[in-house]
């Protein structure tokens, strides 16, 4: 029972804390670019504002357009309930393993792309087309990186994986370095950050995620934006807890959970800094250079897998 209660609390924390990560990266980026920047809690204000606004729907929008935000939001939230944030061994982590997690991302993306196609404007179609192209190249790299981890710990259950890695004496796996690099590259591509897509842009011909949600307004837009924030947070938590697993609570005691909260906050704090610095120092890439970027991710994860097979078995 404690487990289920903790799982609910963790999911709520996950949903509520996600905008803070986005706000933190945005604030930091502004600072690095010599601008003052909105406070890190600005995304909460934005969401609150959007929820109060009146919905303006395009005349050509079908029911898919109105259902999609709820599906995208709830599938992403469900994905969040599966990933260990503060502590491992929660009952929700048995519902879905890491492969199902990739499936959740794909399901949310499917509806996002459909919503982009729905109104029948060129922008929506363009965004959907690009999103599906990028993701179809990112998914194999992500899966191969995940496989490298899963083969090391002989499990695809995220809870088991993290618990195994956190309790084991410190050991250097060369394959993990490659897998972590590959997963970081995929995370940047999948969450639509610079150099793949610019979350701050409204330059019409370069956008991907923004193009798909261009016709959304009010609460629908808020749900879509929130889901995107949760996705960024989720990839951050995945990278942090899989590759730097120390600090995650291994039991359900308040002390362990407190440490877990502290550890994940510190990890995400530093991941945010890394993301902001890379985003500031890089320019957005041409769309047709993205395949090269993603094939680099794929090759890195392939090297990771091979080094696992050759060196670590």
């Amino acid at each position: 029972m404690t487990g289920w209660l903790l799982a609910i609390i963790q999911t709520l924390l996950f949903v509520l804390a996600a905008p803070l990560m986005t706000g933190w990266v945005k604030w930091l980026k502004c600072r690095l670019q010599n601008r003052k920047g909105p406070a890190p809690w600005q995304p909460y204000r934005d969401l609150a504002k959007l929820f109060r606004k009146e919905v303006v729907l395009a005349e050509t929008a079908s029911p898919v357009f109105r259902v999609a935000p709820y599906v995208v939001f709830s599938v992403t939230a469900l994905a969040g309930s599966v990933v260990p944030l503060l502590t491992v061994g929660l009952p929700t982590s048995a519902i879905a393993d890491v492969i199902v997690l990739i499936g959740f991302f794909a399901l949310a993306r499917f509806f996002l792309a459909l919503a982009g196609m729905d109104v029948g404007t060129a922008f929506g179609g363009m965004g959907s087309s690009r999103e599906m192209t990028i993701s179809s190249l990112a998914e194999p790299a992500m899966l191969l990186a995940v496989f490298t981890l899963a083969m090391t710990v002989a499990s695809t259950n995220l809870s088991t994986m993290i618990a195994h890695l956190a309790t084991e004496p410190l050991q250097l796996y060369p394959s993990f370095i490659f897998a972590a690099l590959a997963m970081a590259l995929v995370a940047v591509a999948e969450t639509g950050r610079v150099p793949i897509d610019n979350p701050a842009t409204h330059l019409e011909l370069t956008m991907t995620h923004e193009a798909m949600i261009l016709e959304y307004s009010s609460r629908h837009l808020a749900l879509m934006e929130w889901a995107a924030m949760m996705k960024l947070f989720l990839y951050g938590v995945l990278l942090a807890n899989l590759f730097i697993p120390w600090g995650v609570g291994l039991t359900f005691t308040p002390a362990a959970i407190g440490w877990g909260l502290l550890a994940i906050s510190a990890k995400l704090f530093f991941l945010g800094i890394i993301l902001a610095v890379t985003e500031t120092s890089l320019a957005k890439m041409r769309l047709f250079r993205v395949p090269q970027y993603l094939s680099l991710a794929f090759i890195l994860s392939l090297i990771g897998l091979l080094s696992h097979v050759i060196l670590e078995q």
Partner: protein, 292 residues
């Protein structure tokens, strides 16, 4: 095509279910199969030999690529056929089909969902065949009740499809209840954003050729793609031709070789009856000489 979801709502829902299933997305049946295939690929390390145990996960990555490309393809199909604005007169005048045509769609779509939600039932049925053929089944897979699919052991991997559906439904409901404003403000409809350049026409929508253009460009080294504009006399038309690599590089050269050989042989076929009689005469002589 285009905009059929408004004219044919039931077909649209069934088609959507089919699209999600074939793109191997949870919680439908295609995903269960893909998930089990991935789990089997992860057991590849148990095999002897480094080549095999690294090739099997690689094959799984190719499966992931296929799945993701299938998703792109079916977003395109659904988006072009059912969403957006009707492009043709026929699409604008589409009618709801007869119940006899709707019923099979509904049955197949619900089967997709049922097989995705209770895969344990189907795995249990298939297990009998595996046991007959191999003498070895998967008793672990369905050992933890109908909620859980556990191919090897619960701590290794588990998938609770009914709980996934329940979770998505619950989260949708909560999002709707909590985030929907108490006072229902009426939803205002207005024209879509046209960049200030006047009304949008259905021809401005993304077509299926436009949708798959980035993928075509990426996979150009693999497929022979030729595209360009062509004068048709009355106007200009876009021309796209995608050649199959196997057809162009294997079958066509082989066929050309065969045809060239056949052409050489036709030299002796003059069509003159006297020449043919001479052939048979000399063949007979030759055979007599060989045998006698």
């Amino acid at each position: 095509m285009g905009g059929l979801i408004r004219r044919m709502p039931v077909t649209a829902v069934c088609f959507l279910v089919g699209c999600i299933s074939i793109s191997a997305l949870p919680p439908f049946n295609g995903f269960v199969s893909e998930w089990l295939t991935f789990q089997a690929a992860l057991q590849g390390t148990a095999l002897q030999g480094g080549v095999l145990s690294s090739l099997i996960p690689l094959a799984a990555a190719v499966l992931a690529l296929t799945g993701a490309l299938a998703a792109a393809c079916f977003v395109k199909v659904y988006g072009v056929a059912f969403l957006g604005q009707p492009r043709t007169r026929h699409a604008r005048k589409a009618r709801i089909p007869q119940p006899g045509i709707l019923a099979p769609q509904i049955i197949l779509a619900s089967l997709c969902l049922v097989l995705g939600i209770v895969p344990t039932w189907m795995v249990g049925l298939l297990d009998r065949i595996a046991r007959q053929l191999l003498g070895h089944g998967l008793p672990e897979a369905t050992a933890h009740g109908w909620l859980w699919l556990t191919p090897v052991a619960p701590q290794q991997a588990s998938y609770g499809a009914p709980l996934v559906l329940l979770g998505i439904g619950l989260a949708c409901l909560l999002a709707y209840l909590f985030l929907h404003p108490r006072k229902q403000t009426p939803i205002r409809t207005s024209a879509a954003w046209d960049c200030g350049f006047g009304p949008l026409s259905p021809r401005m929508q993304y077509t299926s050729t436009a949708f798959s253009m980035p993928l075509r460009r990426i996979f150009r080294p693999v497929w022979s793609v030729s595209e360009g504009m062509e004068d048709t006399g009355t106007g200009r038309a876009y021309r796209l031709k995608i050649g199959d690599w196997a057809w162009l590089k294997i079958y066509l050269p082989l066929g050309a070789l065969l045809l060239a050989a056949a052409r050489r042989v036709t030299l002796i076929q003059g069509g003159n009856i006297r020449a043919y009689l001479a052939y048979s005469f000399f063949t007979l002589l030759f055979l007599l000489w060989v045998i006698v």
